[in-house]
């Protein structure tokens, strides 16, 4: 296993209740895992905890990456080890996009990718995410994540709020990451992106801070689309 989460309990700073309540998850090298669940179930919290965002406090459990516990590592140390994240709604950064692209390639000693492949050439001279459309944000965030050449890519709803053309480009980005040998944990709300992806290893459903279902993707998706998440809340599913 390249990545493992064991009995993870997480609180957000300043709040008493747990957001994640005993999450268990393992991802093998080159595997693609999809995480679905209703709003507020803790999907984004899980990704942000994995990258080490300071407001998410691990109270119990551990996160292992390449056999090493990373609970106490700084975000930049985790990134250096090979964990990359594409945020769901990245904030505006008052820095020219091109400048940040240069900094990331320098930092990770990677090669620049053609902007055209992600249709972001017209954006690189602007401040990052300053007035970008939904699709522009997702494509740029995907591009920046790929630039890091991550061993584990965490993709937070890359398919929400984007047009069909952007969706195809983003899917191509994911395929590229897979070809490069990365493992992927992909959060999706409605599952649009799955139509574009050939290989998904497993689909997980998260309800109320816990992964309640892990199984073969087509079957799971079918259950979600037919019954909605309420099916999983009632405890009608078993681990597949």
């Amino acid at each position: 296993m390249i990545f493992e989460i064991k009995d993870l309990w997480v609180k957000v700073q300043g709040h008493d209740e747990f957001i994640l309540k005993g999450v268990e998850l393992s991802i093998g090298r080159g595997e693609v895992h999809v995480l679905m669940g209703p709003n507020g179930s803790g999907k984004s919290t899980l990704l942000k905890t994995i990258v080490g965002m300071p407001q998410y406090k691990i109270v119990r459990g551990s996160i292992l990456f390449m056999g090493k516990e990373i609970n106490d590592l700084q975000p930049y140390e985790r990134a250096k080890m090979g964990i990359g994240i594409a945020f769901q709604s990245p904030p505006r950064i008052r820095v020219k996009t091109k400048y940040l692209v240069e900094l990331i390639t320098t930092k990770f000693k990677t090669r620049l990718l053609p902007y055209e492949e992600y249709n972001i050439g017209h954006l690189v001279n602007r401040d990052l995410y300053d007035g970008f459309s939904g699709g522009e944000k997702k494509r740029t965030e995907m591009y920046l994540t790929i630039l890091q050449r991550p061993k584990l890519a965490l993709l937070d709803e890359p398919d929400s709020g984007v047009d069909v053309d952007s969706l195809a480009l983003i899917a191509r980005g994911i395929e590229y990451l897979i070809e490069e040998g990365a493992s992927i944990l992909l959060v999706t709300h409605l599952g649009y992106i799955l139509r574009y992806l050939d290989v998904v290893t497993k689909l997980h459903v998260m309800i109320n801070g816990k992964i309640v279902y892990s199984g073969e993707p087509e079957k799971a998706l079918d259950l979600i689309l037919t019954h909605g998440y309420s099916y999983f809340m009632k405890g009608g599913a078993s681990y597949g």
Binding site: Y76, P91, Y99
Partner: protein
């Protein structure tokens, strides 16, 4: 907490006996290196004026430029040699305006005179350096720049010091002819106990463009300046100030544009990074006269990097008549956690993330600069964002 007063004891500094011109073959290496930090490359370019304390030690004007009619020399020499220069002397500035101006009028110790003849479009920048080397020296200089009708030029002035205590007063007058263009880049890098009082007056003729790009890497103990540009019909002025201050520096900067003619446009932009216990006042004044059809915009932005830092924005718009369109925006704040967290998740340490955000914040008005000087200015901004 009361705001501190911008006070300086002008009489405690050494004004010397007279201005001097003791030229050397080459600028000594230590000064050359230091000047490089403020964008001055003595070994490059065909037009250079270099002054240390009261002494105009080095002037270079290659034949290529001389033959085209370009003049670079000390102001005293220009006044002695050309009667017509007197018509421009103390014309865009009032010598009685304040104590600092009066001191320059009474105790002038050189300063540069630059003349770009009409229709000449210079594609290389002229460089000037005002350097302070002696402890406790006062350096009151008078600079005069004339750009003839339809001419275009870029001037870079670097001001810096290797001594701790000193006073720098620069009275600078700019005359931009009809349809002429001047890009004036001024880079300051002072030591901690220097007081600085630049006084700048600019007259922009019909259809002329004046771009003032001011960078202050380190302001010294106090600095106070409010360059003023008066615009005639169709003229434009862009005044950008970028400043990083720390320690106990007391800074009062900005710009003023007087829209005298019709179809005039102007912008005053101030960006200020404030650290330590520094206090920065950003001023901007846009003022129209006689129902001029004018459009102006003012922007003051402060980025606070310490709990004891202080920033004050004072934008002022003054319109006469219905044809004026003046706007302003002001914002002061700290670096957002969200931005920091984002960059850290992308692999940057907290220090690197702060530096990246500061670098982005400093990047204003660069598009207005000619291609051939932009990279040099970028390097200066890079070094400012790195040493926080």
């Amino acid at each position: 907490m009361d705001r501190r007063e911008l006070r300086v004891n002008f009489s405690k500094y050494d004004y010397g006996e007279k201005e001097m011109i003791e030229e050397v073959e080459e600028v000594p290496k230590e000064y050359k290196e230091k000047a490089k930090e403020v964008g001055i490359e003595v070994d490059k370019g065909g037009g250079i004026y270099f002054q240390i304390d009261h002494n105009a030690i080095y002037q270079k004007l290659v034949d290529r430029l001389r033959k085209k009619g370009v003049i670079i020399m000390s102001i005293g020499e220009a006044l002695r040699r050309f009667e017509w220069v007197k018509g421009y002397y103390w014309h865009a500035l009032n010598p009685k305006a304040d104590r600092a101006s009066k001191i320059v009028e009474e105790h002038r110790r050189n300063g540069y005179f630059i003349y770009i003849p009409s229709e000449l479009k210079l594609d290389e920048p002229i460089q000037t350096c005002l350097f302070i080397a002696k402890q406790n020296v006062a350096q009151p200089v008078h600079n005069l720049v004339i750009v003839g009708d339809d001419a275009e030029a870029t001037l870079i002035t670097g001001c810096t010091a290797i001594t701790e205590e000193a006073l720098h007063i620069g009275a600078s007058e700019f005359y931009i002819g009809n349809n002429a263009k001047l890009t004036f880049i001024m880079i300051h890098n002072w030591t901690s106990k220097i007081h600085v009082r630049p006084r700048t007056g600019v007259i922009v003729g019909k259809g002329g463009v004046f771009t003032n790009y001011y960078v202050n890497m380190r302001p010294g103990e106090t600095i106070q300046m409010l360059p003023e540009a008066v615009l005639h019909d169709g003229a434009r002025a862009y005044l950008t100030s970028i400043i990083k201050s720390g320690g106990r520096a007391l800074v009062d900067i900005g710009g003023r544009i007087v829209f005298k003619g019709n179809d005039t446009r102007g912008e005053v932009i101030t960006r200020s990074v404030v650290m330590g216990r520094a206090e920065v006042t950003m001023r901007g004044i846009l003022e129209t006269e006689g129902n001029a059809n004018a459009r102006g915009h003012l922007e003051c932005r402060g980025l606070l990097l310490s709990d004891s830092a202080r920033a004050i924005a004072i934008p002022q718009l003054e319109a006469k008549g219905m044809r004026a369109n003046l706007t302003h925006e002001a914002a002061i704040g700290k670096i957002s956690e969200e931005e920091l967290n984002y960059l850290m998740a992308k692999g940057f340490t907290e220090e690197e993330a702060v530096s990246i955000i500061v670098r982005g914040f400093l990047e204003a008005g660069l598009d207005l600069l000619p291609e051939n000087v932009r990279n040099g200015v970028k390097l200066v901004l890079d070094s400012m964002a790195k040493s926080l």
